[in-house]
């Protein structure tokens, strides 16, 4: 007779955990719900959730319920004790003899607190351990296979959400790294220009005097030889400086005939996870009848990533961002619109957003839109912005449709 009631309880716990996954952006809140609800439904004294730290390979405390502070401060647990048997990745480990289980590090303390049974539920996906939920029970009892299944399923969901957040964090690190690189390149460019000027002046003196003198010495003499070497090496310095400047300068676009929809899809693929984690919807309406036009796919993709991430930063959680591509046969151009329902840009700032180093974010480099503007110019395109504070921002970009790559051959 008790079974139906139990299942209803388990169902409710599962529902609450799923709701928390979809309604909050904080991983910590989700983990708190998991330990609280799971411990309660299993009639456990407490629960401790540990996450595997990929770098240190140790289990750090992620969330705790019903246990004293000393459990949290116990520090990380090494992997050896928990990962020795891969076949147990998707199985609940039931510990009835806490005195002789190697995984229980402080049996005396647990016993004193009335713990008589411990359940270890591995959080694993794709055969990789992501963490562990440990439940502490005061009364030993048996479990049905459904109950154990329930625990494994909750733990797997938990592993999925942890993995998602980790992926998003990695992408964020990657994007921040790219932005820092761009900033470094831009200061390198300024420095290179200054250094070039400072060095080219003395080189000009060396080259003028040596080339003049080389005509005054006896042909074939060692003096002439030496002067020729000075001339040659000075010219080498000149080409090294030129190379440095070209490296630091914006590279010209390498255009190929491409479908802009494909480039948009790739850019969306890069940022999609971050939208998912923040529960921001990303709607796309890509023209079915799109035609190809010369594009530097890497540059244009970079531009879309910049605009999409700006939109993501502008909206609140559960906000909305849309990407549309259209074909305007009359004007012979492609139009792309990226719109959001975020905070908007003030009238004073709207004219400054394409200036290098202009940013309203503390973590921004102020180069994203400036670089994007340059990329659009490189493609003979235009970008327009309309924005209203508190309502959102809309960027419209257009590119001309050309039948062939300007300047001839396709770069590959």
């Amino acid at each position: 007779m008790t079974l139906p009631i139990k299942f209803e309880n388990y169902f409710r716990v599962f529902r609450d955990i799923l709701r928390s996954i979809y309604s909050t952006t904080s991983l910590q809140e989700v983990l708190n719900v998991v330990v609280t609800k799971t411990a309660t439904v299993m009639d456990a004294k407490g629960a401790l959730l540990r996450i595997l730290n990929q770098e240190t390979q140790q289990f750090d405390v992620g969330a705790v319920y019903g246990l004293g502070n000393h459990y949290i401060t116990k520090g990380p647990v090494s992997t050896e004790k928990l990962l020795h048997d891969p076949s147990e990745l998707h199985k609940v480990k039931i510990i009835t003899d806490i005195w002789h289980a190697p995984r229980v590090e402080y049996p005396q303390q647990a016993w004193d607190e009335g713990i008589r049974m411990i359940l270890d539920v591995p959080m694993a996906i794709e055969n990789k351990m992501r963490g562990l939920i440990r439940l502490y029970l005061t009364k030993p009892r048996t479990f049905t296979s459904d109950e154990l299944d329930f625990l494994v399923t909750v733990a797997e969901q938990c592993a999925c959400i942890i993995e998602r957040v980790r992926l998003a964090e990695n992408q964020q690190t990657h994007i921040t790294h790219l932005a820092t690189q761009m900033e470094k390149m831009s200061s390198l460019g300024r420095m290179a220009a200054g250094v070039a000027h400072e060095i080219n002046n003395p080189l000009a003196g060396i080259l003028l005097f040596s080339s003049n003198m080389s005509k005054k010495v006896d042909p074939g003499s060692s003096l002439e030889k030496g002067l020729k070497i000075i001339i040659r090496e000075t010219l080498r310095c000149k080409s090294i400086i030129q190379g440095l400047l070209e490296f630091a300068r914006d590279k010209p676009p390498k255009k190929v005939m491409a479908d802009i929809n494909d480039v948009i899809r790739t850019a969306i693929g890069v940022v999609e996870n971050q939208f998912y984690v923040r529960h921001v919807s990303l709607e796309r309406h890509l023209a079915q009848d799109m035609v190809k036009t010369p594009l530097d796919k890497n540059q244009v993709e970079q531009m879309f990533i910049n605009l999409l991430l700006n939109a993501l930063h502008a909206v609140e959680d559960h906000g909305r961002v849309s990407v549309k591509s259209m074909l305007d046969s009359e004007k012979n151009q492609i139009e792309i619109e990226i719109a959001d329902n975020g905070c908007g840009i003030s009238v004073e700032n709207v004219n400054k957003i394409f200036e290098p180093f202009f940013t309203t974010r503390t973590d921004g480099t102020g180069l994203g839109l400036a670089v994007s503007y340059g990329i659009i110019e490189n493609h003979r395109g235009n970008i327009r912005v309309s924005s209203k504070l508190g309502e959102g921002t809309r960027f419209v970009i257009d590119f001309p449709i050309l039948d062939e790559i300007p300047g001839g051959k396709e770069d590959t």
Partner: protein, 122 residues
């Protein structure tokens, strides 16, 4: 080529000295100035066939001198010298009326050839 009168405006003494050596050996008359202000005064007072103008001077931008010359002595032939290894500001200078440009560092032959061409086209 027949001897011409050249005004050099560059704050780097080594470049002034080198230009003087190379040009005077070919029979040209050379006047040296180290600042934009002195250079502009020399342009206004003297008669020169060619001005060798450095684009980056301590007191003025080469472009300002170019602008003044365009307004006051349109026929004066100006060759800009740039140390930035980039032709973009040389192109800008030519658009503003300069005859030609020399990217530093350059050889004596390049200097003489550029001056020769500029005087031919005058």
């Amino acid at each position: 080529m027949k001897p011409v009168s050249v005004l050099v405006i560059d704050d780097e003494q080594v470049i002034c000295d080198a230009c003087q050596l190379v040009l005077s050996e070919e029979g040209h008359t050379v006047t040296l100035t180290n600042t934009g202000k002195d250079g502009l005064a020399a342009i206004r007072q003297g008669t020169y066939d060619v001005v060798l103008l450095d684009m980056k001077l301590p007191d003025m931008d080469g472009m300002e001198i170019l602008k003044a010359v365009q307004e006051e002595k349109r026929r004066l032939c100006i060759i800009v010298m740039t140390g930035y290894s980039s032709i973009s500001n040389a192109v800008q200078a030519i658009k503003k009326g300069a005859s030609d440009y020399l990217a530093k560092p350059f050889t004596d032959d390049e200097l003489l050839e550029t001056i020769g061409k500029a005087c031919e086209n005058k």
